[in-house]
Symmetry: C2
Subunit: 329 residues, 2 copies
Protein backbone atom coordinates (compact mmCIF):
# COMPACT_ATOMS: atom_id res chain seq x y z
CA UNK A 1 0.00 0.00 0.00
CA UNK A 2 2.88 2.37 -0.69
CA UNK A 3 3.92 3.79 -4.05
CA UNK A 4 6.22 6.48 -5.41
CA UNK A 5 5.74 8.27 -8.74
CA UNK A 6 7.52 10.92 -10.75
CA UNK A 7 5.84 13.46 -13.03
CA UNK A 8 6.89 16.58 -14.89
CA UNK A 9 5.07 19.86 -15.32
CA UNK A 10 3.83 20.72 -18.79
CA UNK A 11 3.48 23.95 -20.67
CA UNK A 12 0.42 24.65 -22.77
CA UNK A 13 1.05 25.74 -26.36
CA UNK A 14 -2.67 26.19 -26.88
CA UNK A 15 -3.80 27.60 -23.57
CA UNK A 16 -6.30 26.25 -21.09
CA UNK A 17 -8.31 29.11 -19.59
CA UNK A 18 -11.86 28.59 -18.36
CA UNK A 19 -13.92 25.79 -16.89
CA UNK A 20 -17.29 24.47 -18.03
CA UNK A 21 -17.91 22.83 -14.65
CA UNK A 22 -16.30 23.66 -11.34
CA UNK A 23 -17.25 20.54 -9.35
CA UNK A 24 -15.73 18.12 -11.85
CA UNK A 25 -13.06 20.62 -12.92
CA UNK A 26 -14.02 20.36 -16.57
CA UNK A 27 -12.30 22.62 -19.11
CA UNK A 28 -14.41 24.83 -21.38
CA UNK A 29 -12.16 24.01 -24.34
CA UNK A 30 -9.26 21.79 -25.35
CA UNK A 31 -5.57 22.56 -25.03
CA UNK A 32 -2.20 21.33 -26.32
CA UNK A 33 0.96 20.97 -24.25
CA UNK A 34 4.53 19.78 -24.03
CA UNK A 35 5.58 17.84 -20.93
CA UNK A 36 8.83 19.31 -19.61
CA UNK A 37 11.69 17.03 -18.70
CA UNK A 38 14.21 18.76 -16.46
CA UNK A 39 11.70 19.76 -13.79
CA UNK A 40 10.22 17.06 -11.65
CA UNK A 41 7.80 16.22 -8.85
CA UNK A 42 8.41 13.04 -6.84
CA UNK A 43 5.55 11.88 -4.65
CA UNK A 44 5.16 8.95 -2.27
CA UNK A 45 1.76 7.86 -1.01
CA UNK A 46 1.15 5.23 1.66
CA UNK A 47 -2.26 4.29 2.98
CA UNK A 48 -2.15 3.52 6.68
CA UNK A 49 -4.98 2.23 8.86
CA UNK A 50 -3.20 3.60 11.91
CA UNK A 51 -3.68 7.34 11.25
CA UNK A 52 -6.94 9.22 11.64
CA UNK A 53 -6.36 11.97 9.07
CA UNK A 54 -4.36 12.41 5.88
CA UNK A 55 -0.81 13.64 6.48
CA UNK A 56 0.59 15.86 3.76
CA UNK A 57 4.19 16.98 3.45
CA UNK A 58 5.14 19.27 0.56
CA UNK A 59 8.76 20.23 -0.01
CA UNK A 60 9.69 19.21 3.56
CA UNK A 61 6.90 21.26 5.11
CA UNK A 62 3.97 19.69 6.87
CA UNK A 63 0.72 21.08 5.43
CA UNK A 64 -1.98 20.29 7.98
CA UNK A 65 -4.79 22.69 7.06
CA UNK A 66 -5.88 25.30 4.54
CA UNK A 67 -6.78 25.13 0.83
CA UNK A 68 -3.67 23.12 -0.16
CA UNK A 69 -4.36 20.45 2.41
CA UNK A 70 -8.05 20.34 1.48
CA UNK A 71 -7.21 19.98 -2.20
CA UNK A 72 -4.97 16.97 -1.57
CA UNK A 73 -7.36 15.36 0.92
CA UNK A 74 -10.27 15.82 -1.47
CA UNK A 75 -8.25 14.18 -4.22
CA UNK A 76 -7.40 11.25 -1.93
CA UNK A 77 -11.14 10.87 -1.23
CA UNK A 78 -11.70 10.35 -4.96
CA UNK A 79 -9.08 7.61 -4.97
CA UNK A 80 -10.43 5.97 -1.80
CA UNK A 81 -13.98 5.99 -3.19
CA UNK A 82 -12.80 4.40 -6.39
CA UNK A 83 -10.73 1.74 -4.61
CA UNK A 84 -13.33 1.09 -1.91
CA UNK A 85 -10.87 1.70 0.91
CA UNK A 86 -11.12 3.95 3.97
CA UNK A 87 -7.55 4.28 5.25
CA UNK A 88 -5.98 7.70 5.45
CA UNK A 89 -2.75 8.37 3.61
CA UNK A 90 0.67 9.84 4.14
CA UNK A 91 1.72 11.96 1.15
CA UNK A 92 5.29 13.14 0.80
CA UNK A 93 5.96 15.29 -2.27
CA UNK A 94 9.03 17.14 -3.52
CA UNK A 95 9.46 19.54 -6.42
CA UNK A 96 12.97 20.24 -7.67
CA UNK A 97 11.76 23.63 -8.99
CA UNK A 98 9.84 26.66 -7.54
CA UNK A 99 6.31 25.86 -6.38
CA UNK A 100 3.18 27.94 -7.05
CA UNK A 101 5.14 30.44 -9.09
CA UNK A 102 3.66 29.89 -12.52
CA UNK A 103 5.83 26.89 -13.32
CA UNK A 104 2.97 24.39 -13.40
CA UNK A 105 3.82 22.68 -10.14
CA UNK A 106 0.15 21.74 -9.72
CA UNK A 107 0.28 19.87 -13.06
CA UNK A 108 3.24 17.72 -12.08
CA UNK A 109 2.03 17.53 -8.49
CA UNK A 110 -1.40 16.08 -9.20
CA UNK A 111 -0.13 13.86 -12.03
CA UNK A 112 2.41 12.30 -9.66
CA UNK A 113 -0.19 12.09 -6.90
CA UNK A 114 -2.67 10.39 -9.23
CA UNK A 115 -0.17 7.71 -10.22
CA UNK A 116 1.22 7.15 -6.72
CA UNK A 117 -2.12 7.21 -4.90
CA UNK A 118 -3.94 4.89 -7.30
CA UNK A 119 -1.15 2.34 -7.20
CA UNK A 120 -0.92 2.56 -3.43
CA UNK A 121 -4.67 2.01 -3.28
CA UNK A 122 -4.38 -1.07 -5.45
CA UNK A 123 -6.12 0.41 -8.49
CA UNK A 124 -5.01 -0.39 -12.02
CA UNK A 125 -6.21 2.47 -14.23
CA UNK A 126 -5.62 3.11 -17.92
CA UNK A 127 -3.76 6.26 -18.93
CA UNK A 128 -7.04 7.87 -19.97
CA UNK A 129 -8.59 7.07 -16.62
CA UNK A 130 -5.52 8.38 -14.81
CA UNK A 131 -5.66 11.54 -16.91
CA UNK A 132 -9.35 12.14 -16.11
CA UNK A 133 -8.61 11.53 -12.44
CA UNK A 134 -5.58 13.86 -12.36
CA UNK A 135 -7.82 16.53 -13.92
CA UNK A 136 -9.93 16.54 -10.76
CA UNK A 137 -6.89 17.79 -8.84
CA UNK A 138 -5.69 20.29 -11.45
CA UNK A 139 -6.89 20.75 -15.01
CA UNK A 140 -3.39 20.86 -16.45
CA UNK A 141 -2.34 17.72 -14.53
CA UNK A 142 -4.42 15.68 -16.99
CA UNK A 143 -1.81 16.44 -19.65
CA UNK A 144 1.25 15.56 -17.52
CA UNK A 145 0.13 11.92 -17.44
CA UNK A 146 1.59 11.76 -20.95
CA UNK A 147 5.10 12.51 -22.15
CA UNK A 148 5.96 14.67 -25.13
CA UNK A 149 3.12 16.53 -26.79
CA UNK A 150 -0.42 15.99 -25.54
CA UNK A 151 -3.88 17.24 -26.35
CA UNK A 152 -6.52 17.77 -23.71
CA UNK A 153 -10.05 16.94 -24.81
CA UNK A 154 -12.73 19.18 -23.33
CA UNK A 155 -15.30 16.40 -23.64
CA UNK A 156 -19.05 16.84 -23.61
CA UNK A 157 -20.26 14.55 -20.80
CA UNK A 158 -21.52 16.18 -17.64
CA UNK A 159 -19.61 13.75 -15.42
CA UNK A 160 -16.36 14.54 -17.24
CA UNK A 161 -15.49 10.93 -18.04
CA UNK A 162 -14.56 12.00 -21.60
CA UNK A 163 -12.46 14.99 -20.49
CA UNK A 164 -8.91 13.65 -20.50
CA UNK A 165 -5.67 14.16 -22.39
CA UNK A 166 -4.30 12.04 -25.21
CA UNK A 167 -0.77 11.82 -26.58
CA UNK A 168 -0.01 13.56 -29.89
CA UNK A 169 3.66 12.55 -30.22
CA UNK A 170 6.16 11.13 -27.75
CA UNK A 171 9.08 13.03 -26.23
CA UNK A 172 11.46 11.81 -28.93
CA UNK A 173 9.36 13.16 -31.82
CA UNK A 174 10.78 16.68 -31.82
CA UNK A 175 13.75 17.89 -29.78
CA UNK A 176 12.51 21.34 -28.86
CA UNK A 177 13.81 23.13 -25.81
CA UNK A 178 11.68 25.21 -23.50
CA UNK A 179 13.87 27.78 -21.79
CA UNK A 180 12.16 29.41 -18.83
CA UNK A 181 12.94 32.94 -17.68
CA UNK A 182 11.98 33.33 -14.04
CA UNK A 183 11.08 37.02 -13.63
CA UNK A 184 9.66 36.90 -10.10
CA UNK A 185 9.83 34.58 -7.13
CA UNK A 186 6.96 33.97 -4.76
CA UNK A 187 3.42 32.83 -5.38
CA UNK A 188 1.14 34.79 -7.66
CA UNK A 189 -1.61 37.10 -6.34
CA UNK A 190 -4.47 35.58 -8.28
CA UNK A 191 -4.62 31.81 -8.63
CA UNK A 192 -5.44 30.30 -12.03
CA UNK A 193 -8.79 29.06 -10.79
CA UNK A 194 -9.72 32.48 -9.43
CA UNK A 195 -8.51 34.16 -12.64
CA UNK A 196 -10.52 31.76 -14.81
CA UNK A 197 -13.65 32.32 -12.76
CA UNK A 198 -13.37 36.10 -12.90
CA UNK A 199 -12.69 35.98 -16.65
CA UNK A 200 -15.71 33.72 -17.21
CA UNK A 201 -17.97 35.93 -15.10
CA UNK A 202 -16.89 39.42 -16.18
CA UNK A 203 -14.84 39.43 -19.39
CA UNK A 204 -16.81 40.42 -22.51
CA UNK A 205 -14.23 38.42 -24.49
CA UNK A 206 -14.63 35.10 -22.71
CA UNK A 207 -17.00 33.41 -25.17
CA UNK A 208 -14.85 34.42 -28.15
CA UNK A 209 -11.77 33.15 -26.36
CA UNK A 210 -13.37 29.73 -25.83
CA UNK A 211 -14.65 29.65 -29.42
CA UNK A 212 -11.20 30.43 -30.80
CA UNK A 213 -9.50 27.50 -29.10
CA UNK A 214 -10.74 24.55 -31.15
CA UNK A 215 -9.18 25.78 -34.39
CA UNK A 216 -5.93 26.51 -32.55
CA UNK A 217 -5.91 22.95 -31.18
CA UNK A 218 -6.29 21.49 -34.68
CA UNK A 219 -3.61 23.75 -36.12
CA UNK A 220 -1.19 23.09 -33.26
CA UNK A 221 -1.63 19.34 -33.57
CA UNK A 222 -0.82 19.51 -37.29
CA UNK A 223 2.17 21.82 -36.74
CA UNK A 224 3.57 19.44 -34.10
CA UNK A 225 3.06 16.36 -36.27
CA UNK A 226 4.85 18.13 -39.16
CA UNK A 227 7.50 19.72 -36.91
CA UNK A 228 6.58 23.11 -38.41
CA UNK A 229 8.30 25.52 -36.03
CA UNK A 230 7.10 28.77 -37.64
CA UNK A 231 3.50 27.66 -37.66
CA UNK A 232 3.67 26.45 -34.07
CA UNK A 233 5.22 29.81 -33.13
CA UNK A 234 2.34 31.67 -34.73
CA UNK A 235 -0.34 29.57 -33.04
CA UNK A 236 1.30 29.47 -29.62
CA UNK A 237 1.96 33.22 -29.37
CA UNK A 238 -1.55 34.03 -30.58
CA UNK A 239 -3.11 31.59 -28.11
CA UNK A 240 -1.03 33.01 -25.25
CA UNK A 241 -1.87 36.63 -26.04
CA UNK A 242 -5.58 35.86 -26.49
CA UNK A 243 -5.70 34.05 -23.17
CA UNK A 244 -4.05 36.94 -21.34
CA UNK A 245 -6.21 39.44 -23.25
CA UNK A 246 -9.39 37.63 -22.19
CA UNK A 247 -8.27 37.94 -18.56
CA UNK A 248 -7.14 41.56 -18.95
CA UNK A 249 -10.64 42.43 -20.15
CA UNK A 250 -12.22 41.03 -16.98
CA UNK A 251 -13.26 43.44 -14.26
CA UNK A 252 -11.11 44.32 -12.53
CA UNK A 253 -8.63 43.42 -15.26
CA UNK A 254 -6.24 40.58 -14.48
CA UNK A 255 -2.61 41.22 -15.41
CA UNK A 256 -0.28 38.31 -14.66
CA UNK A 257 2.66 40.06 -16.34
CA UNK A 258 5.32 42.25 -14.81
CA UNK A 259 7.59 44.67 -16.67
CA UNK A 260 10.22 42.04 -17.39
CA UNK A 261 7.56 39.75 -18.87
CA UNK A 262 6.70 42.41 -21.45
CA UNK A 263 10.34 43.30 -22.14
CA UNK A 264 10.94 39.60 -22.86
CA UNK A 265 7.97 39.39 -25.25
CA UNK A 266 9.46 42.24 -27.27
CA UNK A 267 12.96 40.75 -27.15
CA UNK A 268 11.77 37.34 -28.33
CA UNK A 269 9.80 38.86 -31.22
CA UNK A 270 12.77 41.02 -32.21
CA UNK A 271 15.21 38.09 -32.04
CA UNK A 272 12.88 36.03 -34.26
CA UNK A 273 12.72 38.86 -36.80
CA UNK A 274 16.50 38.85 -36.76
CA UNK A 275 16.59 35.14 -37.54
CA UNK A 276 16.70 33.26 -34.23
CA UNK A 277 13.98 30.57 -34.17
CA UNK A 278 12.23 31.33 -30.88
CA UNK A 279 8.72 31.91 -29.66
CA UNK A 280 7.25 32.71 -26.25
CA UNK A 281 4.39 31.50 -24.17
CA UNK A 282 3.28 32.67 -20.73
CA UNK A 283 0.97 31.00 -18.24
CA UNK A 284 -1.03 32.58 -15.45
CA UNK A 285 2.05 34.16 -13.91
CA UNK A 286 4.96 36.43 -14.87
CA UNK A 287 7.44 33.76 -16.04
CA UNK A 288 8.23 33.62 -19.76
CA UNK A 289 8.75 30.28 -21.46
CA UNK A 290 10.68 30.41 -24.72
CA UNK A 291 10.70 27.55 -27.21
CA UNK A 292 13.52 26.91 -29.66
CA UNK A 293 15.05 24.00 -31.57
CA UNK A 294 17.81 22.18 -29.64
CA UNK A 295 20.57 23.79 -31.72
CA UNK A 296 19.44 27.30 -30.71
CA UNK A 297 19.32 26.58 -26.99
CA UNK A 298 22.51 28.46 -26.12
CA UNK A 299 21.53 31.58 -28.06
CA UNK A 300 18.10 31.46 -26.48
CA UNK A 301 19.53 31.14 -22.97
CA UNK A 302 21.86 34.09 -23.61
CA UNK A 303 18.97 36.19 -24.87
CA UNK A 304 17.01 35.58 -21.70
CA UNK A 305 19.92 35.92 -19.27
CA UNK A 306 20.85 39.21 -20.91
CA UNK A 307 17.48 40.80 -20.10
CA UNK A 308 17.27 43.03 -17.02
CA UNK A 309 14.96 41.62 -14.38
CA UNK A 310 15.47 37.95 -15.28
CA UNK A 311 16.30 36.21 -12.01
CA UNK A 312 16.91 32.69 -13.18
CA UNK A 313 16.88 30.66 -16.38
CA UNK A 314 15.83 26.99 -16.44
CA UNK A 315 16.33 24.76 -19.45
CA UNK A 316 13.85 21.98 -20.15
CA UNK A 317 13.26 19.48 -22.95
CA UNK A 318 10.49 17.09 -23.95
CA UNK A 319 9.90 14.85 -20.97
CA UNK A 320 8.26 11.52 -20.14
CA UNK A 321 4.81 10.98 -18.77
CA UNK A 322 3.96 10.39 -15.12
CA UNK A 323 5.28 7.01 -13.99
CA UNK A 324 5.54 4.70 -11.05
CA UNK A 325 9.09 4.19 -9.80
CA UNK A 326 8.53 2.08 -6.69
CA UNK A 327 5.74 0.09 -5.15
CA UNK A 328 5.68 -2.03 -1.98
CA UNK A 329 2.97 -3.73 0.01
CA UNK B 1 -6.50 85.04 -45.25
CA UNK B 2 -4.18 84.25 -42.33
CA UNK B 3 -5.14 82.82 -38.97
CA UNK B 4 -3.45 81.32 -35.91
CA UNK B 5 -5.08 78.85 -33.52
CA UNK B 6 -4.14 77.01 -30.36
CA UNK B 7 -5.40 73.57 -29.37
CA UNK B 8 -4.56 71.00 -26.72
CA UNK B 9 -4.32 67.24 -26.96
CA UNK B 10 -6.91 65.20 -25.15
CA UNK B 11 -6.85 61.89 -23.39
CA UNK B 12 -9.65 59.39 -23.81
CA UNK B 13 -11.17 58.02 -20.61
CA UNK B 14 -13.44 55.77 -22.63
CA UNK B 15 -11.20 54.69 -25.46
CA UNK B 16 -11.60 55.17 -29.19
CA UNK B 17 -10.38 52.06 -31.03
CA UNK B 18 -11.86 51.11 -34.39
CA UNK B 19 -13.38 52.84 -37.39
CA UNK B 20 -16.69 52.15 -39.11
CA UNK B 21 -15.57 53.95 -42.25
CA UNK B 22 -12.04 54.69 -43.37
CA UNK B 23 -12.73 57.33 -46.04
CA UNK B 24 -14.70 59.60 -43.71
CA UNK B 25 -12.68 58.49 -40.66
CA UNK B 26 -15.80 57.50 -38.74
CA UNK B 27 -15.45 55.85 -35.34
CA UNK B 28 -17.12 52.50 -34.69
CA UNK B 29 -18.21 53.67 -31.22
CA UNK B 30 -18.28 56.75 -29.02
CA UNK B 31 -15.59 57.89 -26.61
CA UNK B 32 -15.12 60.27 -23.68
CA UNK B 33 -12.10 62.50 -23.12
CA UNK B 34 -10.47 65.25 -21.11
CA UNK B 35 -8.74 68.05 -23.00
CA UNK B 36 -5.29 68.60 -21.49
CA UNK B 37 -4.13 72.11 -20.68
CA UNK B 38 -0.37 72.29 -20.24
CA UNK B 39 0.46 70.77 -23.64
CA UNK B 40 -0.26 72.85 -26.71
CA UNK B 41 -0.15 73.00 -30.49
CA UNK B 42 -0.01 76.42 -32.14
CA UNK B 43 -0.73 76.52 -35.86
CA UNK B 44 -0.77 79.35 -38.40
CA UNK B 45 -2.41 78.95 -41.80
CA UNK B 46 -2.22 81.47 -44.64
CA UNK B 47 -3.73 80.91 -48.05
CA UNK B 48 -1.57 82.40 -50.77
CA UNK B 49 -2.33 82.59 -54.52
CA UNK B 50 1.39 82.93 -55.21
CA UNK B 51 2.43 79.36 -54.30
CA UNK B 52 1.73 76.29 -56.41
CA UNK B 53 1.66 73.68 -53.64
CA UNK B 54 0.90 73.59 -49.94
CA UNK B 55 3.89 74.34 -47.73
CA UNK B 56 3.94 72.53 -44.40
CA UNK B 57 6.34 73.21 -41.54
CA UNK B 58 6.04 71.10 -38.39
CA UNK B 59 8.20 71.85 -35.35
CA UNK B 60 10.64 73.93 -37.48
CA UNK B 61 11.05 71.15 -40.05
CA UNK B 62 9.79 71.49 -43.60
CA UNK B 63 7.65 68.47 -44.48
CA UNK B 64 7.42 68.41 -48.26
CA UNK B 65 6.37 64.84 -49.02
CA UNK B 66 5.28 61.56 -47.43
CA UNK B 67 2.25 60.51 -45.42
CA UNK B 68 2.38 63.48 -43.01
CA UNK B 69 2.43 65.98 -45.85
CA UNK B 70 -0.36 64.13 -47.67
CA UNK B 71 -2.50 64.05 -44.56
CA UNK B 72 -2.26 67.83 -44.11
CA UNK B 73 -2.72 68.61 -47.81
CA UNK B 74 -5.76 66.34 -47.97
CA UNK B 75 -7.23 68.13 -44.97
CA UNK B 76 -6.63 71.51 -46.62
CA UNK B 77 -8.48 70.21 -49.70
CA UNK B 78 -11.53 69.61 -47.51
CA UNK B 79 -11.35 73.21 -46.28
CA UNK B 80 -10.80 74.61 -49.79
CA UNK B 81 -13.73 72.62 -51.16
CA UNK B 82 -15.97 73.86 -48.40
CA UNK B 83 -14.86 77.50 -48.82
CA UNK B 84 -14.84 77.41 -52.61
CA UNK B 85 -11.26 78.62 -52.86
CA UNK B 86 -8.28 77.21 -54.75
CA UNK B 87 -5.24 78.90 -53.20
CA UNK B 88 -2.58 76.77 -51.63
CA UNK B 89 -1.64 77.35 -48.02
CA UNK B 90 1.36 77.81 -45.79
CA UNK B 91 0.98 75.86 -42.56
CA UNK B 92 3.36 76.46 -39.66
CA UNK B 93 2.73 74.32 -36.60
CA UNK B 94 4.53 73.89 -33.29
CA UNK B 95 3.99 71.45 -30.47
CA UNK B 96 5.48 72.24 -27.07
CA UNK B 97 5.55 68.48 -26.27
CA UNK B 98 6.85 65.28 -27.99
CA UNK B 99 5.23 64.55 -31.34
CA UNK B 100 3.98 61.15 -32.56
CA UNK B 101 4.93 59.49 -29.29
CA UNK B 102 1.56 58.55 -27.93
CA UNK B 103 0.82 62.00 -26.49
CA UNK B 104 -2.06 62.77 -28.86
CA UNK B 105 -0.22 65.30 -30.97
CA UNK B 106 -2.49 64.46 -33.90
CA UNK B 107 -5.52 65.44 -31.81
CA UNK B 108 -4.21 68.88 -30.94
CA UNK B 109 -2.61 69.23 -34.37
CA UNK B 110 -5.74 68.68 -36.43
CA UNK B 111 -7.95 70.61 -33.99
CA UNK B 112 -5.67 73.64 -34.30
CA UNK B 113 -5.41 73.17 -38.06
CA UNK B 114 -9.21 72.96 -38.40
CA UNK B 115 -9.73 76.24 -36.53
CA UNK B 116 -6.86 78.11 -38.22
CA UNK B 117 -7.53 76.87 -41.76
CA UNK B 118 -11.28 77.47 -41.72
CA UNK B 119 -10.83 81.01 -40.42
CA UNK B 120 -8.07 81.72 -42.92
CA UNK B 121 -10.38 80.41 -45.64
CA UNK B 122 -13.15 82.76 -44.51
CA UNK B 123 -15.44 80.01 -43.20
CA UNK B 124 -17.56 80.49 -40.09
CA UNK B 125 -18.35 77.03 -38.74
CA UNK B 126 -20.16 76.00 -35.59
CA UNK B 127 -18.26 73.98 -32.99
CA UNK B 128 -20.05 70.82 -34.13
CA UNK B 129 -19.09 71.47 -37.74
CA UNK B 130 -15.50 72.16 -36.71
CA UNK B 131 -15.47 68.96 -34.68
CA UNK B 132 -16.77 66.87 -37.60
CA UNK B 133 -14.20 68.51 -39.86
CA UNK B 134 -11.30 67.97 -37.42
CA UNK B 135 -12.34 64.30 -37.26
CA UNK B 136 -11.44 63.94 -40.94
CA UNK B 137 -7.81 64.71 -40.03
CA UNK B 138 -7.67 62.60 -36.86
CA UNK B 139 -10.50 60.88 -35.03
CA UNK B 140 -9.42 62.14 -31.63
CA UNK B 141 -9.05 65.73 -32.92
CA UNK B 142 -12.85 65.98 -32.97
CA UNK B 143 -12.77 66.01 -29.16
CA UNK B 144 -10.01 68.65 -28.82
CA UNK B 145 -12.34 71.25 -30.35
CA UNK B 146 -13.93 71.36 -26.89
CA UNK B 147 -12.38 72.16 -23.52
CA UNK B 148 -12.83 70.07 -20.38
CA UNK B 149 -14.66 66.79 -20.73
CA UNK B 150 -16.12 65.85 -24.10
CA UNK B 151 -18.04 62.97 -25.60
CA UNK B 152 -17.53 61.81 -29.15
CA UNK B 153 -20.67 60.63 -30.89
CA UNK B 154 -20.17 57.75 -33.30
CA UNK B 155 -23.17 58.87 -35.36
CA UNK B 156 -25.09 56.72 -37.80
CA UNK B 157 -24.97 58.68 -41.08
CA UNK B 158 -22.81 57.33 -43.85
CA UNK B 159 -21.40 60.76 -44.62
CA UNK B 160 -20.38 61.26 -40.98
CA UNK B 161 -22.15 64.60 -40.55
CA UNK B 162 -23.47 63.39 -37.18
CA UNK B 163 -20.10 62.04 -35.99
CA UNK B 164 -18.74 64.86 -33.86
CA UNK B 165 -17.89 65.57 -30.25
CA UNK B 166 -20.01 67.46 -27.72
CA UNK B 167 -19.01 69.02 -24.42
CA UNK B 168 -19.95 67.22 -21.21
CA UNK B 169 -18.56 69.75 -18.71
CA UNK B 170 -16.15 72.67 -19.07
CA UNK B 171 -12.55 72.73 -17.83
CA UNK B 172 -13.60 74.36 -14.53
CA UNK B 173 -16.08 71.61 -13.61
CA UNK B 174 -13.58 69.27 -11.95
CA UNK B 175 -9.94 70.06 -11.21
CA UNK B 176 -8.39 66.70 -12.01
CA UNK B 177 -4.77 66.40 -12.97
CA UNK B 178 -3.44 64.10 -15.63
CA UNK B 179 0.19 63.29 -14.88
CA UNK B 180 1.96 61.71 -17.82
CA UNK B 181 4.85 59.28 -17.41
CA UNK B 182 6.92 59.22 -20.58
CA UNK B 183 8.44 55.72 -20.75
CA UNK B 184 9.92 55.87 -24.25
CA UNK B 185 10.90 58.54 -26.73
CA UNK B 186 10.54 58.19 -30.45
CA UNK B 187 7.58 57.37 -32.62
CA UNK B 188 5.70 54.13 -32.12
CA UNK B 189 6.11 51.11 -34.43
CA UNK B 190 2.44 50.65 -35.25
CA UNK B 191 0.32 53.75 -35.86
CA UNK B 192 -3.12 53.96 -34.27
CA UNK B 193 -4.81 53.67 -37.66
CA UNK B 194 -2.80 50.57 -38.57
CA UNK B 195 -3.46 49.07 -35.13
CA UNK B 196 -7.20 49.72 -35.39
CA UNK B 197 -7.36 48.17 -38.85
CA UNK B 198 -5.50 45.03 -37.80
CA UNK B 199 -7.66 44.71 -34.69
CA UNK B 200 -10.84 45.08 -36.76
CA UNK B 201 -9.67 42.54 -39.33
CA UNK B 202 -8.11 39.86 -37.13
CA UNK B 203 -9.08 40.17 -33.47
CA UNK B 204 -11.82 37.75 -32.35
CA UNK B 205 -12.62 40.28 -29.61
CA UNK B 206 -13.25 43.30 -31.82
CA UNK B 207 -17.06 43.13 -31.98
CA UNK B 208 -17.34 42.68 -28.21
CA UNK B 209 -14.98 45.59 -27.69
CA UNK B 210 -17.16 47.88 -29.82
CA UNK B 211 -20.34 46.61 -28.13
CA UNK B 212 -18.91 47.28 -24.67
CA UNK B 213 -18.21 50.96 -25.33
CA UNK B 214 -21.69 52.47 -25.29
CA UNK B 215 -22.38 51.50 -21.68
CA UNK B 216 -18.95 52.80 -20.67
CA UNK B 217 -19.72 56.13 -22.36
CA UNK B 218 -22.96 56.49 -20.41
CA UNK B 219 -21.32 55.52 -17.13
CA UNK B 220 -18.34 57.82 -17.68
CA UNK B 221 -20.60 60.77 -18.51
CA UNK B 222 -22.52 60.23 -15.26
CA UNK B 223 -19.34 59.78 -13.20
CA UNK B 224 -17.91 63.03 -14.61
CA UNK B 225 -21.14 64.99 -14.01
CA UNK B 226 -21.18 63.72 -10.40
CA UNK B 227 -17.40 64.08 -9.93
CA UNK B 228 -17.33 60.44 -8.77
CA UNK B 229 -13.60 59.67 -8.85
CA UNK B 230 -13.80 56.00 -7.85
CA UNK B 231 -16.41 55.23 -10.47
CA UNK B 232 -14.48 57.08 -13.18
CA UNK B 233 -11.38 55.14 -12.14
CA UNK B 234 -13.21 51.85 -12.53
CA UNK B 235 -14.61 52.72 -15.97
CA UNK B 236 -11.43 54.27 -17.35
CA UNK B 237 -9.11 51.44 -16.34
CA UNK B 238 -11.53 48.82 -17.66
CA UNK B 239 -11.92 50.68 -20.96
CA UNK B 240 -8.16 51.03 -21.33
CA UNK B 241 -7.44 47.38 -20.60
CA UNK B 242 -10.24 46.19 -22.91
CA UNK B 243 -8.94 48.34 -25.74
CA UNK B 244 -5.40 47.02 -25.36
CA UNK B 245 -6.72 43.47 -24.92
CA UNK B 246 -8.69 43.73 -28.18
CA UNK B 247 -5.47 44.73 -29.95
CA UNK B 248 -3.37 42.09 -28.19
CA UNK B 249 -5.76 39.43 -29.50
CA UNK B 250 -5.20 40.52 -33.11
CA UNK B 251 -2.82 38.51 -35.26
CA UNK B 252 -0.03 39.15 -34.90
CA UNK B 253 -0.88 40.53 -31.46
CA UNK B 254 -0.33 44.25 -30.99
CA UNK B 255 1.42 45.24 -27.77
CA UNK B 256 1.87 49.00 -27.33
CA UNK B 257 3.27 48.56 -23.81
CA UNK B 258 6.85 48.26 -22.70
CA UNK B 259 8.05 46.88 -19.37
CA UNK B 260 7.82 50.24 -17.62
CA UNK B 261 4.22 50.63 -18.80
CA UNK B 262 3.28 47.43 -16.99
CA UNK B 263 5.32 48.26 -13.89
CA UNK B 264 3.42 51.57 -13.71
CA UNK B 265 0.03 49.84 -14.03
CA UNK B 266 0.89 47.70 -11.01
CA UNK B 267 2.26 50.67 -9.06
CA UNK B 268 -0.83 52.78 -9.69
CA UNK B 269 -3.16 49.97 -8.64
CA UNK B 270 -1.10 49.33 -5.52
CA UNK B 271 -1.00 53.02 -4.58
CA UNK B 272 -4.79 53.23 -4.96
CA UNK B 273 -5.23 50.22 -2.68
CA UNK B 274 -3.02 52.03 -0.17
CA UNK B 275 -5.29 55.08 -0.30
CA UNK B 276 -3.90 57.41 -2.98
CA UNK B 277 -6.70 58.42 -5.37
CA UNK B 278 -5.13 57.63 -8.76
CA UNK B 279 -6.05 55.70 -11.87
CA UNK B 280 -4.25 55.02 -15.13
CA UNK B 281 -5.06 55.12 -18.78
CA UNK B 282 -2.83 54.28 -21.75
CA UNK B 283 -3.28 55.13 -25.42
CA UNK B 284 -1.81 53.38 -28.44
CA UNK B 285 1.73 53.80 -27.16
CA UNK B 286 3.84 53.06 -24.07
CA UNK B 287 3.20 56.27 -22.10
CA UNK B 288 1.10 56.02 -18.94
CA UNK B 289 -1.34 58.79 -18.03
CA UNK B 290 -2.34 58.93 -14.39
CA UNK B 291 -5.37 60.88 -13.17
CA UNK B 292 -5.69 62.26 -9.66
CA UNK B 293 -7.47 65.08 -7.83
CA UNK B 294 -5.48 68.35 -7.74
CA UNK B 295 -4.50 67.87 -4.10
CA UNK B 296 -2.81 64.52 -4.86
CA UNK B 297 -0.75 65.85 -7.75
CA UNK B 298 2.56 65.94 -5.87
CA UNK B 299 2.19 62.41 -4.50
CA UNK B 300 1.22 61.19 -7.95
CA UNK B 301 4.24 62.87 -9.58
CA UNK B 302 6.55 61.31 -6.97
CA UNK B 303 5.05 57.88 -7.57
CA UNK B 304 5.77 58.12 -11.29
CA UNK B 305 9.22 59.72 -11.00
CA UNK B 306 10.21 57.01 -8.55
CA UNK B 307 9.59 54.21 -11.06
CA UNK B 308 12.58 52.82 -12.97
CA UNK B 309 12.34 53.48 -16.68
CA UNK B 310 10.27 56.67 -16.44
CA UNK B 311 12.10 59.22 -18.57
CA UNK B 312 10.00 62.28 -18.03
CA UNK B 313 6.89 63.37 -16.17
CA UNK B 314 4.50 65.99 -17.56
CA UNK B 315 1.72 67.53 -15.51
CA UNK B 316 -1.50 68.58 -17.22
CA UNK B 317 -4.90 69.86 -16.10
CA UNK B 318 -8.29 70.40 -17.72
CA UNK B 319 -7.70 72.65 -20.72
CA UNK B 320 -9.69 74.90 -23.04
CA UNK B 321 -11.01 74.01 -26.44
CA UNK B 322 -9.34 74.86 -29.73
CA UNK B 323 -9.45 78.61 -30.31
CA UNK B 324 -8.46 81.34 -32.70
CA UNK B 325 -5.83 83.71 -31.29
CA UNK B 326 -5.09 85.90 -34.31
CA UNK B 327 -6.62 86.61 -37.69
CA UNK B 328 -5.55 89.02 -40.42
CA UNK B 329 -6.60 89.61 -44.00
Amino acid sequence: MKATAIAHPNIALVKYWGKRNIEYNLPAAGSVSLTLGGLETRTTVSFDGGIDADVVELNDNLVDQGPKYDRVAHFLDLVRNRAGIREHARVVSHNDFPTGAGLASSASGFAALAVAATHAAGLDLSDSELSALARRGSGSAARSIFGGFAEMRAGTREDGQDAYAEPICGADHWDLRCVIAVTAHGEKDISSTEGMTRTHQTSPYYDQWVDSVSLDVEWARAAIEQRDFDELARIAEASCLRMHASAMAAEPGIIYWNGTTVDLIHRVRKARKEGLPVFFTIDAGPQVKVFCPAESQTDCELLLRDTDGVRDVLVTHPGEGARLIEETD
